[in-house]
């Protein structure tokens, strides 16, 4: 699993968790089915995109740092 995929999966879960948590702290109303599903889908989409971007950035930064270390050691 790549870092982007991993980050997107984490972001989807976090987006859904955040929506339910906002209902728990009385900020959102999930009593009706249709707006509740809209909130969950929007949360999952936004969380997935943000998580994917974060995962990709983390993966690239780690790989770049690792390549620099390897080049330094070879010298």
């Amino acid at each position: 699993m790549s870092a982007t995929t991993h980050g997107a999966a984490c972001g989807v879960v976090l987006g859904i968790v955040l929506v339910i948590f906002l209902q728990q702290v009385a900020y959102l109303d999930l009593s009706d089915l249709v707006p509740a599903l809209e909130y969950l889908i929007v949360g999952a989409l936004v969380g997935g995109v943000i998580g994917g971007l974060l995962g990709m950035a983390l993966g690239h930064s780690y790989l770049a740092r690792h390549q620099v270390d390897a080049a330094t050691k070879s010298k």
Binding site: A3, Q23, Q24, V42, G55, M56
Partner: protein
């Protein structure tokens, strides 16, 4: 990373940003829905104009017609509701209270009146007490409730939506918030470590799985005409 892949990565990043912007613009942002519930607030209607009225521990529920003005309650305490109506000649046989979550009634409480008689006086009422003990450790949050007046023939004479904010006992020690917090902490931890996982996965790429050993079918019996695989070497040694 090869340089040839960088334009593709940048295009992917910009594509993701564009998709995020489109989603944010096209769909409703949940924050806007805080003060605008899907069902019309009942408090818009003047309370005096309606002959039906419901009180929750003495508070008119029509004042809690939106989630932002929800009645704060304790799920471990008993709620005393009073269903009032002042329509002469109308009989109510059932006072019903329902709690909704994701469009489904997660709790229903009925106060059935046996042999209902039409209301002959200025105001009639049905008391209803409700203690949601079965859900008090789980359902902390804001919920929509519906109070209904049901006639003996099953017709709903009047119903009113209102919101309550239920607090679990001991404050924040409800089951769902704790589970959600644990999931969030774990996901953030996994997200932070995702880069390291990817790097480790690239460094130690496992070899492709070997083909499973092909064993001869069990039904096959060795035949006596088979040639042996190795012949004994001649006494003089192998030829050069």
């Amino acid at each position: 990373m090869p340089r040839a892949r960088r334009p593709a990565v940048r295009a992917g990043v910009w594509g993701a940003v564009f998709a995020l912007a489109v989603v944010a613009l096209l769909l409703n942002v949940p924050v806007l829905a805080r003060a605008a519930p899907a069902t019309g607030p009942a408090s818009i209607r003047p309370a005096a104009a309606s002959p039906y009225n419901v009180t929750w521990n003495g508070v008119d529920v029509s004042t809690a017609g939106s989630s932002s003005s929800a009645i704060s309650i304790d799920f471990s305490q008993t709620a005393n509701l009073l269903f009032n109506w002042n329509v002469a000649g109308v009989s109510i046989s059932d006072a019903r209270l329902q709690m909704y979550y994701f469009g489904f009634a997660v709790s229903t409480r009925d106060q059935v009146v046996n042999n209902p008689v039409p209301c002959a006086v200025a105001s009639c009422s049905i008391p209803l007490s409700w203690t949601p003990l079965s859900v008090n450790y789980v359902l902390e949050g804001v919920y929509r409730l519906t109070a209904s007046f049901i006639a003996p023939n099953g017709t709903t004479m009047f119903s009113e939506n209102f919101y309550v904010r239920g607090n679990a006992p001991y404050g924040f020690v409800a089951l769902i918030p704790i589970i959600l917090l644990l999931i969030a902490v774990y996901e953030v931890y996994a997200l932070v470590r995702s880069g390291r996982y990817a790097a480790l996965g690239r460094k130690s790429t496992p070899p492709p799985p070997a083909a499973p050993p092909t064993s001869p079918p069990a039904t096959e019996t060795p035949s006596s005409t088979e040639v042996p695989a190795e012949e004994p070497a001649p006494p003089g040694g192998p030829n050069p």
